[in-house]
């Protein structure tokens, strides 16, 4: 289903008639509804209310602000068979609930067929170049007509890739440990951020291992203790006390796993699924060379591929 979009230019996915230029309205929901009505008129997207609810539900769960002043709301609809794109610009800025300090000046709405996993990701991947440029939102919102906006996208030669890359669906690494950290710091981060595992990097930010809560539990309760049927000797968490006593003296390298799921940033995103399955892991780490540049969680992967 996605194949016939491979290699086509992003500008071929919409026309100047599918662009609302410099809208006055600043309410996110109203703007989205306006654009959906236009797309319904131009392309036919089935019931507008259904599409509106689908987009809002997705947007309320995971806002799609992808760069400075740029948002890419989207939904997958049963009523359509092709990718439908609409663009809207605002000079005042469209205000997202809970994100008033990041007014959206360029909104690209994508509607994909229900049975096309990853099509939205392909479209988003093609826009990566302009999304990374902090001037894009301002530049596009200053353009006065739909024709000019279409030409902006056409001029930039944005092409849908043949497949989605790992870097297209990765999230930035927000929490990480360093090789000289101790178990104490790891436990603090596990508790504070509620993570299953945490990457460990060296001074060059190269990924050297992963510390997981499972490994931590195994340190407290090794196999030879778990053999026992009668847990009376450890009812008061004695092995945990031992670990607590030594946590500031225990280097992460002692419990760090050197086998974990990694993918190169330019590897096909499907490679992530393979690595997650092969390592029975919750997170796959995305590398540029040996440097840690991102992370894809199992939950995030499934959401992006099956729901986005």
């Amino acid at each position: 289903m996605n194949d016939h979009y491979n290699g086509i230019e992003f500008s071929h996915l919409f026309t100047a008639a599918q662009v609302i230029c410099q809208i006055e309205q600043t309410d996110r929901d109203g703007v989205i509804l306006e654009l959906l009505r236009l797309l319904a008129l131009e392309r036919g997207i089935g019931n507008v209310n259904d599409a509106y609810e689908a987009v809002l539900e997705r947007e309320n769960s995971f806002p799609t602000i992808v760069g400075s002043g740029i948002a890419m709301p989207h939904a997958r609809l049963e009523a359509i068979n092709d990718l439908v794109v609409g663009v809207i610009t605002s000079q005042k800025g469209i205000i997202y609930p809970n994100k008033p300090d990041n007014p959206i000046k360029l909104m690209i709405l994508t509607l994909a067929p229900k049975t096309a996993p990853g099509l939205y990701l392909q479209a988003m991947s093609s826009l990566a170049k302009i999304c990374q440029d902090p001037e894009t939102a301002n530049a596009v919102s200053n353009l006065g007509s739909g024709e000019e906006i279409w030409k902006f996208f056409d001029r930039n030669g944005l092409v849908l890739p043949n497949y989605v890359l790992a870097c297209d669906i990765m999230d930035p690494v927000q929490v990480k440990l360093h090789e000289d950290d101790t178990l104490e710091q790891a436990i603090d981060l596990f508790v504070r951020y509620g993570r299953i595992d945490l990457p460990v990097v060296d001074k060059e930010e190269e990924l050297i291992g992963v510390v997981s809560t499972y490994e931590l539990l195994r340190v407290c309760l090794p196999d030879y203790i778990l053999w026992m049927d009668d847990l009376t000797p450890i009812l008061n968490f004695e092995p945990f006390l031992e670990v607590l006593r030594n946590e500031s003296k225990t280097w992460l390298t002692e419990i760090m796993a050197s086998e974990f799921a990694t993918v190169a940033e330019d590897a096909p995103a499907i490679q992530i699924a393979k690595e997650l399955t092969r390592h029975n892991a919750d997170n796959a780490y995305v590398l540029r060379g040996k440097q840690l540049v991102g992370v894809v969680s199992l939950e995030g992967f499934l959401r992006k591929v099956l729901r986005d």
């Binding site: 340190v219 196999d223 030879y224 053999w227 009668d230 009376t232 000797p233 390298t253 086998e259």
Partner: protein, 491 residues
């Protein structure tokens, strides 16, 4: 390709058997036996299925009948192993093995050499008490704990522990399934104390020398372990969490079981039972009592702790090997053996040690022993049983597939670390250890041979026991015959 090799070798053996004028039934049993051996080598995961098919072919070709199959399955050996497996499962849950591992990791001033010495002797003595596979599972867990904590590669220490366990498994009748097989099928049967008297001292000597070889071979890894242990000690960190383990019940059960088994001879005499009856039923009685005590877990012990796959495979192998005896193939081999090598134990002992060691290095040692024991019975010399036992156990060290303990330990290593040991990585050290330990075992047997009872003396002891009791008629198969005396060269 592999299928072709298996059938090719089977056909080749059939042609050879035909060339030496064996009968039709003998040709078929030889051919099927070899094909099953080849199958275990070439199709390890299908070995049980192939053994089932092999039994079917033997029965279908009228070489093996149902009564012979049931007799040759050696249900006594299987029952003994079931009893041991259940008992070990209970001991594990009672924390006995946890206590043992904690004792090791809390040993003061631990060094690499001390650790290696402990794992070798612990593996060997645990094998003597509860069989080699159980022993290696616990010792491997200990090694993983220490190596994970110290961040050192576990492979050298796993090899060391496996080799210690294999050597130790020759020490008692419980150490290895081949021990119980030899004990039960020797003519007349050998008891627990026979093993303790004649095999255990040889095992101790062999184990000490094996330890020396392994310490030299893996000296760099042991030095690294010492350094890591030292730096951990400086930081006042232990090798793992320690908890108070209520081990006393488990220890009492283990010691009680060993005493029960060790006294089997006296108890059988007292109760006027067939030789080794108590030996076989002791683990079953203990397992039964433990299952009544811990009745909520009884089903778990039977379903999860008993290795049914392995036991069924053993039964099929015993039956196939028994067919060789049933069709008189083993008698032919024994006659050829005698005509080529004579009947001098000084010559036969090393030959049997090295043949069984080489055989066990590539084929499951229980297959080899099951097939070879009728040959040794025919040769009628006591030292040869010990030669067969030593060769079968020590030969397991030569290759990575040489014994069940090797396969279990490597499986654990692979599952935990996703690492494989190269065949030659093992073979280099295995061949050296195998050769040296076999030479020592040969020396030990040669040294003890003059003091070993002859077959006639052993039969005399058995018959004397039964003549003094009411069960004489029931046990007349154990009364020695005149020609047995005449054939005993050590008389």
């Amino acid at each position: 390709m592999r299928m072709g090799v298996m059938f090719g070798v089977g056909v080749l053996v059939a042609l050879l058997a035909n060339a030496v004028n064996l009968e039709r039934s003998q040709i078929i049993s030889c051919s099927i036996f070899i094909m099953i051996i080849m199958a275990t080598l070439l199709f390890w995961t299908f070995r049980l299925a192939i053994a089932f098919v092999g039994i079917g072919v033997l029965m279908g070709s009228n070489v093996l009948d149902l009564p012979t199959f049931i007799k040759e399955c050696k249900i006594d050996v299987i029952l003994f192993l079931i009893g041991m497996m259940v008992t070990v499962g209970v001991l594990k849950e009672l924390g006995l093995f946890t206590w043992i591992i904690q004792m090791v990791i809390s040993t003061p001033r631990m060094t690499g050499l001390k650790f290696v010495t402990i794992i070798v002797f612990l593996g060997a003595f645990m094998a003597c008490a509860v069989d080699e596979v159980t022993s290696i599972v616990f010792v491997a867990t200990l090694i993983f704990q220490v190596c994970d904590t110290l961040k050192v590669k576990p492979i050298p220490f796993i090899i060391i522990a496996v080799m210690g366990t294999n050597v130790g498994s020759s020490g008692t009748m419980l150490g290895n399934p081949v021990g119980i097989l030899i004990g039960q099928n020797a003519d007349p049967p050998l008891g627990f104390m026979d093993f303790l008297t004649w095999s255990f001292p040889i095992m101790l000597l062999t184990l000490t020398c094996t330890l020396g070889v392994l310490v030299y071979w893996f000296r760099k890894d042991i030095r690294l372990l010492s350094e890591r242990l030292e730096s951990r000690r400086e930081m006042r960190l232990g090798l793992g969490p320690l908890v108070k383990v209520p081990y006393a019940r488990g220890l009492v059960i283990l010691v009680g079981m060993i005493c029960f088994i060790a006294l089997h001879h006296q108890l059988e005499h007292l109760l006027n039972l067939e030789p080794n009856t108590i030996l076989i039923v002791a683990p079953l009685i203990i397992a039964g009592i433990l299952m009544i005590w811990r009745n909520k877990r009884a089903r778990h012990y039977i379903e999860d702790d008993v290795e049914w796959w392995t036991l069924l495979f053993f039964m099929m192998l015993f039956a196939v090997a028994g067919t060789l005896e049933h069709t008189q193939v083993t008698r032919e081999i024994a006659d050829s053996f005698q005509s080529v090598f004579g009947d001098k134990p000084a010559l036969l002992t090393p030959i049997i040690i090295f043949i069984s060691a080489l055989g066990s290095a590539f084929v499951d040692n229980i297959v080899f022993v099951a097939a070879f024991i009728p040959v040794v019975n025919k040769l009628e010399q006591t030292p040869l049983y010990w030669a067969l036992l030593q060769g079968a156990c020590l030969g397991g060290n030569i290759t990575m597939i040489g014994s069940t303990a090797n396969i279990v330990a490597l499986g654990m290593l692979e599952k935990r670390y996703r690492v494989h040991i190269n065949f030659f990585q093992w073979f280099k050290v295995g061949a050296v250890v195998g050769l040296i330990s076999c030479l020592i075992a040969w020396g030990g047997i040669a040294l003890l041979s003059p003091y070993m009872p002859t077959k006639a003396q052993r039969e005399e002891a058995v018959s004397a026991r039964y003549e003094s009791g009411p069960g004489v008629e029931a046990n007349e198969s154990h009364v020695p015959k005149n020609d047995d005396y005449q054939n005993d060269s050590l008389k």
